[in-house]
């Protein structure tokens, strides 16, 4: 069954906005509600919109299962590397060595109620990004596996 062009155009228009919203939730995970898992789920629902709007053979040209498996493994690897990088420097597992350094995500948090600074948190935003990459890959693999079972009907 072929979806109408209204559905396809709506999916095409909405997909970048869903992508930006999910990336916003992931990147601001240490400041506002949300984080890696929630943002990754929102990104995966954007991928789901594309998968449902187009036919299986068309959408798998864009959303490849190998790519999603690679994303999942990359996220897990980034998380483990971020956790182990503190041990290389001589501190404990998961130690937040990046936080007061002044480099990337390294500003110290101002005292009192001020405007939130995105450039804080140390390893926590990096782990949010890793979890986000992992979740979007994992949920997309689940949806692709589900859709491949009924590909002659859609």
């Amino acid at each position: 069954m072929q979806m109408s062009s209204i559905v396809k155009t709506t999916a095409d228009v909405l997909f970048p906005f869903i992508l930006i919203y999910g990336l916003y939730i992931i990147l601001h995970g240490h400041l506002t509600p949300g984080g890696g898992f929630q943002g990754g789920a929102i990104l995966a629902s954007g991928v789901l919109l594309l998968l449902l709007a187009y036919r299986y053979s068309e959408s798998t040209n864009i959303v490849r299962q190998v790519m999603m498996k690679t994303l999942e493994s990359t996220g897990l690897l980034l998380f483990i590397i971020a956790a182990l990088s503190a041990m290389v420097l001589g501190a404990g597992f998961f130690f937040n060595w990046l936080s007061p350094l002044g480099s990337i995500f390294g500003d110290s948090v101002a005292y009192g109620s001020t405007v939130a600074n995105l450039n804080t948190g140390g390893l926590i935003p990096i782990m949010n990004i890793a979890v986000g990459i992992e979740v979007v890959g994992a949920i997309s693999v689940i949806l692709l596996a589900l859709l491949s079972g009924i590909q002659e009907k859609i």
Binding site: I25, P33, G34, G35, F37, Q38, A41, I42, A44, S45, L48, L52, I139, I142, L143, L146, L147, G149, I150, K153, I154
Partner: protein
């Protein structure tokens, strides 16, 4: 006071949606009622000042599981008790 009325409306709506999920024989209608249940649950989480859980519930419960159930129904039968 107005918050209590809102809570009561949402909880009654959740109970009604749950009964509808149980009583519908058409599985697509049951899945839509389940999506409504998840949506009301997300609003209730937000009212109870847990926006973190509310975002997760709205994305997973109302979005992804509804679509996963729809895909599963497309692959099997549309009515409860049908032979495949």
């Amino acid at each position: 006071m107005i918050e209590m009325i809102l809570h009561a409306f949402i909880l009654i709506g959740m109970i009604v949606a749950a009964i509808l999920v149980f009583s519908f024989k058409d599985l697509v209608s049951a899945v839509v009622a389940f999506g409504l249940f998840s949506f009301l649950l997300a609003i209730e989480f937000y009212l109870l000042q847990a926006p973190d859980v509310a975002i997760a519930e709205a994305a997973i419960g109302a979005g992804l599981t509804t679509a996963a159930f729809m895909i599963a129904i497309r692959g099997t039968t549309k009515k409860e008790g049908d032979e495949a």
